[in-house]
């Protein structure tokens, strides 16, 4: 038997103990697509964090009507909008809004979804019936529709966007975690822990939750992109963040009225959204391959 060909044996020979995460990272590192996605996303995060240092002008205050709709070049590298504000500066600050929306929304979705999914999958019974019933109903609303309805009722604004999209996002996580837990709860290591007298809370947090992390990471990565796209769509429809806030979706919505004379107002914000979603999809695809091959579609 040739043990040397098995990766685990190779690792043991080199005297290192590789965790599941280190192995996943090793595989991910060799995939060009996901690594490009990761680099682009990190770059966007740096741009968002350093926005005040990078932006040549203030995204809201530096507005001069004399500069309205200036074409790209010279003082305005990517042109100026209808209020004479610098498109590049607004794009740079817009990265803050988009990334914040993506991360906060998925944060809300993961916390609610994981807790409810763990409870439903582990305890079953009426608790599962109630939680599954609610997720089924919320997921019965197609795509963005429920978020549109929530925003229509609550009115536009960034905090309402967090709330609406978080509300829409958690059932996906809950359903996933519930399924994982149901598959795991009768396995030997869980029964063993129970036989040793571990309490429910310990089994849930120490034994079941860590085994759900891989799929959760995949869903969240793709979900961040989804949330960014949803925020842009809501803002585009006039239901999300409001002018003069520099949000990519809102920039596109106002640029739309000037598509004849100033196409750059729609070109660049859309490109920014596209590149962001693309990078997250590339990264998410790679993570799915290394962390949870079963999730493949």
């Amino acid at each position: 038997m040739n043990m040397a060909e098995q990766p685990a044996a190779v690792a043991a020979k080199q005297g290192e103990v590789l965790s599941q995460w280190a192995l996943a990272w090793r595989r991910l590192r060799r995939m060009p697509g996901p690594m490009i996605g990761l680099c682009v996303f990190v770059l966007l995060a740096v741009i968002a964090l350093c926005a005040p240092l990078l932006a040549p002008m203030d995204p809201v205050k530096d507005a001069n009507v004399m500069d309205a709709l200036t074409a790209p070049g010279g003082k305005f590298l990517l042109g100026a909008d209808h209020a004479g504000r610098d498109v590049l500066s607004r794009l740079i600050y817009g990265a803050r809004i988009s990334l914040t929306v993506g991360i906060v929304v998925q944060g809300i979705a993961v916390v609610i979804g994981t807790v409810l999914g763990l409870l439903a999958g582990y305890f079953g019974g009426w608790l599962d019936d109630v939680i599954s019933g609610v997720t089924t109903v919320l997921q019965a609303f197609p795509g963005l529709l429920f978020a549109i309805a929530v925003m229509a009722v609550m009115g536009p604004g960034l905090y309402n966007v967090f709330l609406a999209l978080g509300l829409v996002g958690w059932p996906t996580v809950a359903r996933l975690v519930r399924g994982e837990v149901m598959a795991l709860r009768e396995r030997e290591f869980v029964q063993g822990a129970r036989a040793l007298g571990a309490r429910d809370a310990r089994i849930l947090l120490k034994h079941l939750l860590p085994n759900c992390l891989g799929p959760i990471i995949v869903v969240v990565t793709l979900g961040i992109g989804g949330a960014i796209l949803s925020e842009a769509s809501l803002s585009f429809l006039g239901l999300g963040t409001q002018p003069p806030t520099a949000s990519w979706g809102a920039m596109l919505a106002s640029g739309r009225d000037y598509i004849w004379e100033a196409p750059w107002l729609t070109l660049y914000p859309g490109l920014a959204i596209f590149v962001t979603i693309l990078s997250l999809n590339l990264l998410g695809d790679g993570l799915r391959d290394v962390l949870d091959p079963r999730l493949k579609h």
Binding site: G133, F141, G143, L237, F274, K296, H297
Partner: protein, 311 residues
Amino acid sequence: MLGYISRRFLQLIPIMLGITLVTFLLMRAAGGDPVMQLIDDRSAGMDQAAVDAIRQQWGLDQPLPVQYLRFVANAVKGDLGRSYVSRSSVAQAINERVPATARLGLTALIFAVIVGIAAGTIAAARRNSWFDTATMVVALAGVSIPVFWLALLMMYLFAVKWHVLPASGYGDGQLKYLIMPAFALGAGITGVVARVTRSAMLGVIKAEYITTARSKGLSESKVIFKHALRNALIPVVTIIGVQLGGVLSGAVITESIFNWPGIGRLLVDSIGKRDQPMVQGVVIFFALLFALVNLLVDVAYAAVDPRIRYS
């Protein structure tokens, strides 16, 4: 089989009740006093008796549970209430706009299914070829591109710059008005279908019965299209059902960009006018349609796939 189908249809009832309850409560939760919306556009100095009369006339004097049950009882009969703005029937307004949305949505969906399945199949059959790489790059771009941006880009290129297609509107139903909205709506779904088809095909191609088919001396195209594709289609059919959700909510955006007289634009217009019954009606209509189609998809592939047990 018949038992399975009827059981699935019975499962639809609690989902439908859930959809109507959630939507109804949402609309009432933060919407303020509906009567104030009703009299908003009329004289401001209306006396209390007149306000009460309007409240009674619209059934808004009843307790909330009674209002909900009335709404459901009417909805079963196809009555979704009346618009606060035009005072006309919500169901009728939706009904009038079904053809435009159906035309746009079905065109996008059919395009996505044909192009997506064809591209995904060929990509899988020629794995790692330039065609495969190109298809997957384009498919990923299709999945990642925002509908509204694609729509505006096309509008700029084909309508503003080259003047080959009308910028927006329905025309008299001519094909040239349909091309851009349908393509914008269908691009993302095409990408999803192509990706799912490819990965399902790659799973099937390894199977022993494919090797058997090849060793019988069948032509490659027969192996791919007759033996492999048929078996790979099950996950594809499922994903198409799910993607209908994308078509419906994508229609909201596409229709409002292209001024397409469908249900999606009705929703956006009604939100702008704070027409609560109309918003509620459209949301419920879309959700019920989505639930129903997904049930039909489930039943369809239970009928096709003998491995699915009806329990």
